[in-house]
């Protein structure tokens, strides 16, 4: 789990994504920097609208036409944001794959699972038809779909929710990618199935030596599966670091508030405190820390300028002027 010391396979530098809408520009993501090491699982966590899904899509340049991405996405030494479309198609699916929240809408309803695996293999692997079929059966086996060779010719609507999510994972893994981008892969599923799918993903990451970026709004999922976590708020990364350290003693007031707003096994005796207010609108310039209006630790300096990400411990960063006070809080408690 800790292959962190090696050179990261993915390094994101100062990523920004702007949407031009009829009602003006929306800066959905700004100044996001992060790294993913080989075999590492990074959690990207935040409320809806915090920019986590947009960040994920920007990595492969899967953005809508009205979006502009800036910054750099360095994949194995190559900037994907600057790469030509042709090169990008080689990376997509073969080197970096993606799975989605809702397999019912992410799978093409009129193609069988076999066809949807096959087209990936045709695009990325030089195999004949029989070999592709064999590989497809192997993939369904891999993700734990029973009687794979029969189910292969089923349509998505003929699967149950959990099985459908397994099928989507199989399709994404067809060309053996080295990095899997998972966008809320368990949110649409029943709680019991959620667990199975997360275990499956973790097992696949370990067995295939993949890295994974897991986007979720569920802190429990992060705690259970990730090595490191990036917390996003209003389009920025506000805190990052090893999951255990961040969860045990957050250094950003938002992370702190977030952890206090949800029930957790470890801090069971504390009363739950919901975060007051709403996230800011992103179609206007934000002066200072975006969380300041809702923050219990706010001070004048927070409203003056956006606090930069600062080193707050080993492999930990936070963009919070109250980081020290938060650290002190933890030692007292």
């Amino acid at each position: 789990m800790s292959a962190r010391l090696t050179e990261p396979v993915l390094r994101v530098d100062n990523l920004g994504v702007r949407f031009d809408t009829p009602r003006g520009a929306v800066n959905a993501v700004s100044g996001v920097s992060l790294t993913v090491g080989a075999g590492e699982v990074l959690g990207l966590v935040g409320e809806s609208g915090s920019g986590k899904s947009v960040t994920l899509r920007a990595l492969m340049r899967l953005l809508r036409r009205n979006a502009t991405a800036s910054g750099r996405v360095i994949w194995r030494g190559e900037d994907l944001l600057a790469a030509p479309e042709r090169r990008l198609r080689e990376v997509r699916g073969r080197e970096i794959a993606m799975i989605f929240q809702e397999p019912m809408t992410a799978l093409n309803p009129v193609l069988t699972i076999a066809q949807q695996i096959d087209e990936s293999l045709v695009a990325h692997r030089n195999l004949d038809e029989r070999a592709r079929r064999a590989r497809a059966v192997e993939l369904l086996d891999l993700v734990g779909i029973p009687s794979a060779s029969v189910r292969l010719d089923n349509y998505p609507h003929e699967f149950s929710g959990g099985m459908r999510q397994r099928a989507m994972i199989a399709i994404a893994l067809a060309a053996e990618p080295s990095l899997l981008l998972a966008d809320e892969p368990t949110t649409a599923l029943d709680v019991t199935i959620q667990d199975q799918i997360l275990k499956l993903l973790l097992g696949l990451v370990a067995d295939l030596g993949m890295a994974m970026i897991l986007v979720t709004h569920d802190l429990g999922v992060v705690a259970e599966t990730c090595d490191r976590v990036c917390v996003m708020y209003a389009g920025r990364v506000v805190e990052s670091g090893p999951v255990s350290a961040v969860f045990a003693s957050p250094r950003h007031a938002y992370t702190h508030a977030l952890l206090r707003s949800m029930p957790s096994g470890e801090a069971a005796r504390q009363p739950l405190t919901p975060i007051q207010g709403q996230p800011p609108r992103l179609d206007r310039p934000i002066v200072g820390c975006a969380f300041a209006p809702r923050c219990a630790f706010v001070m004048d300096a927070c409203r003056a300028a956006t606090p930069p990400l600062m080193l707050v411990g080993e492999g930990r960063e936070a963009a919070c002027l109250a980081a020290d006070r938060l650290a002190a809080l933890e030692t007292v408690a």
């Binding site: 809806s48 569920d218 999922v221 977030l258 949800m262 029930p263 996230p279």
Partner: protein, 291 residues
């Protein structure tokens, strides 16, 4: 595992409020264009003599088949009648068609749809069969067949269109009522013991009427197309009544020498149809009706 972040429900609500306020201050461009075009034709229809430069039926043997000029912007026909004036005069009949061919279906269909949607039961099943049956007859063919039985003419055309047309309004209204009935405010009105008439006409009808209104605009455009087509075929308005389709039929034998006799009344049909379509699109936008 259940420790999920709060979803942004509050933001969504405020977003909805925002769009509603915007909608009130912003008149959709198509609506504006539609209103302008349709108002223009209405004006022509109500007071053609005030707008037309010549008497539409006055012969002028000094200007037979003269091409468009300053004196006659749309030219003249074989009797020297001014095409511009005739086109303007014809708008009276064509707008009349737009209204008379749709008003009975609108009123009857909406009422029937309202009751069928609200009470359901065997009437609804029967209505379903009726719709299935009606759509198997090509609209123009069944209208022509009915006109054939009743005899050509405008009034018989209105009857023929109404006999079939109400079904489409009823189908639309019925569907809307079925959806509206699932809403809380209708249930609340029922719980409060409001009379059925009050629930139907005060609570359901105003909401069900929005898509019906939008459909009506499109239907008026279609009625003009149908009316002028029947006029052209000789089954609708009868000469010498000035109607766009009849004018075009009048001029078709001179088309090679005097294209203007047919082309300009055709422009009127196209423009008027676009006007009503824009009105429908704009209203759909304004009333938030999905089509």
């Amino acid at each position: 595992m259940s420790a999920a972040l709060p979803e942004d429900a509050a933001g969504e609500i405020s977003g909805r409020k925002r769009t509603r306020r915007l909608r009130l201050t912003r008149v959709p461009a198509p609506l504006l264009a539609g209103v302008v075009v349709v108002s223009f034709f209405l004006l022509c229809a109500i007071a053609p003599e005030a707008i037309a430069p010549y008497d539409p039926i006055a012969f002028d043997y000094t200007a037979l088949l003269s091409p468009p000029s300053l004196a006659h912007p749309f030219g003249t026909d074989q009797f020297g009648r001014d095409i511009l004036s005739r086109t303007i005069a014809a708008s009276t009949i064509d707008l009349q068609i737009a209204i008379f061919a749709t008003i009975a279906p609108l009123v009857i269909g909406t009422l029937v749809g309202l009751f069928i949607g609200y009470y359901g039961g065997w009437a609804d099943i029967l209505f379903g069969r009726l719709v299935d049956l009606v759509v198997t007859f090509p609209f123009l063919v069944i209208v022509i067949a009915i006109v054939a039985v009743l005899g050509p003419g405008l009034f018989n055309m209105y009857v023929a269109v109404s006999v079939i047309g109400w079904v489409f309004y009823a189908r639309l209204t019925r569907g809307e009522v079925m959806v509206l009935q699932q809403y809380d405010y209708v249930a609340a009105a029922k719980v409060l013991g409001y009379s059925q008439a009050r629930i139907l006409f005060r609570h359901i009808l105003p909401n069900a009427a929005r898509p019906v209104l939008v459909y009506w605009m499109t239907d008026m455009a279609l009625a003009i197309l149908l009316g002028s087509s029947l006029g052209y075929l000789g089954l609708g308005a009868q000469p010498p009544t000035a109607e766009w389709g009849v004018l075009i039929a009048d001029g078709k034998n001179f088309f090679s020498q005097a294209w203007w006799i047919t082309v300009f009344p055709g422009f009127a049909i196209v423009l008027c149809g676009i006007g009503f379509s824009l009105l429908g699109d704009g209203l759909a936008d304004l009333l938030d009706v999905k089509r």
